[in-house]
């Protein structure tokens, strides 16, 4: 198994390098000038040029790319133009927010998505199945910014149950942390619940038609054990795959939700960076994101090997 893990890690290196080059090139393709964002819309062209020189934006692209790679090789992800702090420290400051949001959202998504999928499959072609699938479709279809706004109006303004925006670190108390995050976490989870429920239902339907399920029932195993012990365990491969994707989507989806609920996380950092054409910030953050996604996939592969001993890599 360790050989497989090392093989997957080695495979990840060229992926991250290619990703880094792509991120750099894509950002350069974006129109707009970071010096303009920093100088302000009323600055003179001379002032803008002065800032471009200060930031090294007047150097050739290849020189900027090589210089970035050189710094990356030394563990330096660069310095944000607008925040005036290192990209790594900016990301580290905001990581707890995004991870808290993703964690809470995942804790809602997994039980809700899997159980809804299993229920829909077990009672296939009944009103429950239709209800779950329509709800899943709605969850997948509704934009999270719109859901977020509706949720704030209902739960914060009308009912007064939850704070409308902002983040409270867990160090200031479990309840304040939870009440600040539960609303955005549910909004973020709704899309993933629908997605996971549909995949789980589909995988479960395949398994429920298998001979070994029929055999288990014929041998008199009760339905609870047939479903949980025999059927569900055999749906785990697609569910684990989707869970890996969902974790990536949760981090990606945080870009919108953090903006709506004013959560100072990595998603908001990226939006801020893109709007201001803060190349080092966006490059560094995207690279850290990309690296995380690659690692999540490696982890998913390891889980495959644990769940199904037949799976081997390398």
């Amino acid at each position: 198994m360790w050989r497989g893990v090392i093989y997957r890690l080695l495979q990840a290196i060229p992926v991250v390098v290619i990703f880094a080059v792509l991120v750099f090139m894509l950002l350069q393709l974006l129109p707009g000038d970071p010096a303009v964002a920093i100088a302000g819309s009323e600055a003179t062209p001379e002032a803008i040029d002065r800032i471009r020189t200060q930031l090294g934006l007047d150097r050739p692209l290849l020189e900027q790319l090589l210089s970035w790679f050189n710094r990356l090789a030394h563990g330096d992800f660069g310095k944000s133009l607008i925040l005036n702090q290192s990209v790594v420290s900016a990301v580290v400051e905001r990581l707890p927010v995004t991870l808290s949001l993703a964690f809470l959202s995942l804790m809602i998504t997994l039980p809700a998505g899997i159980s809804l999928g299993v229920l829909a499959a077990y009672w296939r072609n009944t009103w429950l199945d239709s209800f779950v699938m329509v709800t899943a479709l709605l969850g997948v279809s509704m934009p999270s910014f719109w859901l977020g706004i509706l949720s704030v109006i209902l739960f914060s303004v009308t009912l007064g149950w939850l704070p409308p925006a902002g983040y409270v670190p867990i160090t200031q108390g479990l309840w304040p942390w939870f009440s600040a995050l539960i609303q955005p976490a549910v909004v973020l989870a709704l899309f993933q619940i629908g997605f996971l429920a549909r995949i789980t239902r589909s995988a479960m339907l395949d398994v429920l038609d298998q001979d070994f399920i029929r055999t288990a029932r014929a041998k008199g195993v009760d339905e609870w054990h047939t479903i949980t012990k025999h059927a569900f365990r055999n749906t785990l491969i697609p569910v684990v795959t989707v869970t890996g994707i969902i974790i990536s989507l949760l981090i990606g989806g945080s870009v919108v939700v953090e903006q709506v609920f004013a959560l100072p996380g990595i998603g908001r950092l990226i939006v801020q960076g893109i709007l201001a054409r803060d190349y080092p910030l966006v490059q560094g953050t995207m690279l850290i994101f990309g690296f995380s996604f690659v690692m999540i996939n490696v982890l998913v592969d390891i889980v495959y090997m644990l769940v199904d001993p037949r799976v081997r890599f390398g």
Binding site: I153, P164, P264, R268
Partner: protein, 516 residues
């Protein structure tokens, strides 16, 4: 003869002080508490010399102060200087500093700090050309600072009041700090407490703050500042609905950047109200005077002739009001009557005549705007329809704000008409319009405007300066380098049962504001 400016910088007389005392508002103010203000975003940097965005400046003016500051009527008034003496030829400016003014670190402000600040400003500021004509500085004693210019500049003091890229006084220890790396130490009523970028910023009462006891009540950025609040917390909430919800749920005392639509949700809420601020900014159509069709003044004038302001304002739905001029009343330079003949022309027939004279033959006229600011996009869409009515082949391009702004400032992107808003120059007055006028490289240097600006800067007589500005504004609007749309306002919301003393102004000011 001395220019009129220095007279306005004499210390307030005892009579004025007595009058102030007699007319002070009832002192129901209470001291203490934390006011929570939710804004659309937080500052990227608090280096005053690099600060051009309203978000940054709103915080900066609570922490730092300038030698002279802008009052309610946009005139320069002493702040850290007690008076300014100007030599006859307006080349030497002697600033007498207020004694006993302390920075938030407890150190007293002296002429050495002022000198170091001017030197750092020249080195790092985006607005460094402000000091380009300085010959030398002198600090004959602890409380006197003298600026010698190479040539006459009758409006130098007026330029120093600028609230954008403000030339605030920093401790001399900050002299060699690179751009955006300055320590946040000012002489203002508040000092920086906690700052978590993207989340919140907390200002604390500056216990070392030394108010100008001789000044009148708060007057713009000038006047006596009294600090009642223990602290002000700025929460950065980009989503407008969430900001409004924060006010409605009493998680915020004041919120910024409300739209007219959202403000309707405050109707009927007894304890919540809106705070409308005029003047704030001015919206213009900018015409590319060195690209294709709009290089021809007749075409530019045709564009001006089709503009129907009311239709545009109805479509944009932002807080706005009509004003033909590039300045606001009661500025002595306000030229509303003169500018009226170029404003809200809504005359497509005249536009057709001008187009015919220009030999227009249905070529494409590119209108470029952005999707980030809906009011800009909507006003360009309405303008395109108005142009089509006059027979113009208008092509609308909607791009992102960064690209749009970049194209505007560099003249790139092959556009003919675009739109933007100016906030500082209309407030600060004619001298500040100069750099803005020439910000756009596509507005060709116009000898008539150059000569008038030269006269404006060199005339000691205000009458002559006024005439120079009228010539500039007339030329600018006549040649349709830009077409004025409207004055746009700022709409904020606040809790009337919680907040006292809050007055509408260009930036929110939390001095002389208290919690009830």
């Amino acid at each position: 003869m001395l220019p009129r400016i220095p007279r306005s910088f004499l210390l307030l007389s005892i009579a004025a002080a007595t009058a102030l005392f007699a007319t002070s508002p009832s002192r129901a103010q209470t001291r203490g508490g934390t006011l929570i203000y939710s804004t659309v975003g937080g500052p990227a940097s608090l280096d005053p010399y690099m600060a051009g965005s309203l978000i940054e400046l709103e915080v900066i003016h609570e922490i730092f102060e300038t030698l002279v500051a802008m009052d309610e009527n946009y005139n320069a008034k002493p702040m850290l200087a007690s008076k300014v003496d100007i030599s006859n030829e307006a080349k030497t400016f002697t600033f007498s500093l207020r004694k006993g003014v302390k920075f938030s670190n407890g150190q007293e402000m002296t002429s050495a700090d002022v000198l170091a600040s001017f030197e750092r400003f020249k080195k790092v500021s985006t607005n460094a050309p402000l000091l380009a004509d300085v010959d030398k500085y002198e600090t004959p004693d602890t409380y006197t600072f003298i600026v010698h210019l190479k040539s006459t500049n009758a409006v130098f003091v007026d330029l120093l009041k600028s609230s954008t890229y403000p030339l605030v006084v920093l401790p001399a220890s900050q002299k060699d700090k690179p751009a955006r790396e300055v320590e946040i130490i000012g002489t203002g009523p508040f000092k920086l407490g906690e700052w978590q970028k993207d989340s919140h910023l907390i200002l604390l009462r500056n216990e070392n703050y030394t108010p100008d006891e001789s000044a009148g009540d708060a007057d713009g950025f000038a006047g006596k500042k009294t600090v009642y609040l223990d602290s002000v917390r700025y929460n950065f909430i980009p989503e407008a609905n969430a900001r409004l919800a924060a006010l409605q749920t009493k998680k915020s005392d004041v919120i910024g950047d409300l739209t007219l639509d959202l403000a309707k949700r405050l109707d009927g809420a007894a304890e919540l109200s809106t705070l409308k601020t005029f003047p704030y900014c001015q919206q213009y159509f900018v015409l590319h005077a060195s690209n294709g069709l709009t290089a021809n003044p007749l075409i530019r004038q045709a564009v001006r002739e089709v503009v129907n302001v009311d239709d545009i304002l109805a479509a944009t739905g932002i807080l706005s009001q009509r004003n033909p001029s590039m300045l606001y009343p009661p500025s002595p330079y306000y030229a509303g009557d003169m500018a009226a003949k170029y404003y809200d022309r809504k005359d497509p027939k005249k536009a057709r005549e001008l187009l015919k004279q220009a030999g227009y033959n249905g070529e494409k006229l590119v209108l470029q705007t952005n999707s980030n600011y809906p009011y800009m996009r909507d006003s360009i869409l309405v303008l395109s329809e108005q142009l089509k009515e006059a027979g113009v082949n208008a092509d609308v391009q909607v791009i992102d704000w960064m690209s749009n702004s970049n194209n505007l400032q560099r003249g790139t992107g092959n556009w003919n008409v675009s739109t933007t808003s100016f906030c500082s120059p209309p407030l600060l007055g004619p001298p500040q319009w100069k750099s803005t006028v020439y910000t756009f490289p596509h507005i060709e240097k116009d000898p008539a405007i150059d000569a008038a600006f030269d006269s404006l800067f060199k005339s000691a007589d205000q009458g002559a300066r006024k005439k120079a500005w009228f010539d500039i504004e007339n030329r600018f609007l006549d040649q349709a380098y830009m077409v004025k749309v409207a004055d746009t306002g700022s709409l904020r919301g606040y809790n009337t049962t919680r907040v006292g003393g809050l007055k509408p102004y260009f930036y929110l000011r939390f001095w002389n504001t208290w919690l009830k």
